[in-house]
């Protein structure tokens, strides 16, 4: 039988596994967490608010004959010898799927590193410390930071958010919508210290670059992520930011059948242009996982992968009674308000050279569907 090894047991690894098992290949999945694949977005929202255990977050299982090797991360790999190492154990493969994803970034400043929120176990640990009257300091004002802030307010915590950027979620949403979201958070009682880097961590908080000392009962750091590529070193791959692939998710720089999926894959999407990008939007692991499964299946059958892969990136964020929804890549365009008011329910288009590259709606899910059609249509 032809053996596929998948490194990474998140959503992208799961979708690739389902595709490849469905094509009749033997599939082994190596995952660093002890859990079967589960859905992460609720970790900063519903699960943190109360009651949802990891068992309730597992994805449905379509195959009973996938070989799950959970609880230890891959530590190395030789593409030439077609072997993946997990400490002293060696697993040989005919085809490899790189699905090892990302981990939270830490700011390179002195002092004890704060908690992060990435895994179900992280969420359980954080949840146990949040209660009415507890003060929480969130470092970072991206989606995870803002969702945690909103959830903690709803749990009755005193919440402060600090970030280097001038507005929350500024890079994906633009300054205007970021400012509007900041106002929503402030109306719910969140305090912001923005536009300041962190100079030093303390057990109970931070010192900002301007000397401001912030302290809290609980400190969480949510300042983005770094790709888990270390186990691939020594194979002459382009690992500058994730793993470089072609449009069909085949890893470049090797003759061995290897594909990459999900948050770690840096691939060009002709819907926008020919620039390879790593995209951490929720639906991409499913889209790239299925596509990579087809691509690797073709390679293992000595066929040339074919097709045109133009996935539509999409993500969602719920904060208080605000539902943000995004299609495309708003971060590469300039924001233009097309319906409603910045401060309320609205629709924002993101333009690059008159071309619509993204659209974001605030509490406008159904209306947004029509705008979605214009993204990358040219």
């Amino acid at each position: 039988m032809t053996q596929v090894v998948i490194v990474g047991a998140g959503l992208g690894g799961l979708r690739a596994a389902e595709s490849l098992r469905g094509q009749g290949f033997d599939v082994m999945v190596i995952g660093d967490e002890p859990h079967l694949p589960y859905n992460r977005p609720p970790l900063s929202k519903e699960s943190l608010k109360g009651g949802v255990e990891v068992e309730g977050l597992h994805f449905r299982r379509k195959h009973d004959d996938i070989d799950w090797r959970l609880g230890a991360a891959a530590t190395g790999c030789s593409l030439q010898s077609r072997v993946v190492y997990v400490d002293d154990a060696a697993y040989t493969f005919d085809g490899l799927v790189i699905a090892s994803g990302i981990r939270p970034r830490h700011l390179p400043v002195p002092g004890p590193q704060p908690q992060v929120l990435r895994t179900a176990d992280d969420a359980l640990a954080l949840r146990s410390r949040l209660a009415p009257g507890v003060s929480l300091l969130v470092i970072g004002a991206g989606f995870i930071g803002c969702e945690v802030a909103a959830t903690a307010r709803q749990l009755g915590c005193e919440v402060t958010v600090t970030a280097y950027d001038a507005e929350p979620m500024m890079r994906p949403l633009g300054a205007q919508l970021g400012a509007a979201m900041k106002a929503h958070h402030e109306a719910h009682g969140v305090t912001f210290h923005l536009g300041q880097g962190v100079q030093e961590f303390h057990a109970d908080g931070v010192t900002l670059a301007d000397g401001t000392r912030l302290s809290a009962d609980v400190v969480i750091e949510a300042v983005g992520s770094v790709p888990n590529v270390e186990w691939l070193h020594g194979n002459d791959l382009d690992l500058a930011d994730g793993v470089l692939t072609d449009n069909l998710m085949q890893v470049l720089g090797t003759d061995v059948p290897v594909v990459a999926v999900g948050d770690i894959a840096r691939f060009p999407n002709p819907r926008f242009d020919d620039v390879p990008r790593r995209i951490e939007h929720w639906n991409l692991p499913t889209e790239t996982g299925k596509r990579a499964g087809q691509t690797l299946g073709a390679l293992l059958n000595a066929e040339t992968p074919t097709g045109d892969f133009r996935p539509m990136p999409a993500f969602w964020s719920d904060q208080y009674d605000i539902g943000l929804q995004s299609y495309g890549l708003p971060g590469i365009g300039e924001a233009t308000l097309v319906d409603g008011e910045w401060s309320g329910d609205c629709i924002v288009e993101y333009l690059r050279d008159d071309e619509v590259v993204g659209v974001v709606g605030v509490n406008r899910t159904k209306d947004l569907m029509d705008y979605r059609k214009s993204i990358g249509a040219s």
């Binding site: 979708r15 859905n39 639906n283 499913t286 539902g323 899910t365 159904k366 569907m369």
Partner: protein, 61 residues
């Protein structure tokens, strides 16, 4: 095949409507409506719809 959507989980994101437009739709109020029993010929579409649900609220029997 039978389809069940857990409406306690569903957040009406509408992703399923792109994958299986004859099975799932958002109504004028933006709330999800769906057909509870469909022909097996739609199985691939319904499977894809369940896969892309951000809340994983779609069950297939």
């Amino acid at each position: 095949m039978k389809i069940y959507v857990d409406m306690d989980k569903c957040q009406h994101y509408g992703q399923c409507t792109f994958e299986a437009p004859t099975v799932f739709a958002l109504n004028d109020d933006g709330k999800l409506e769906y057909v509870g029993e469909v022909d097996d010929a739609l199985a691939d579409q319904v499977e894809a719809a369940a896969d892309v649900c951000p809340m994983q609220a779609i069950e297939i029997q």
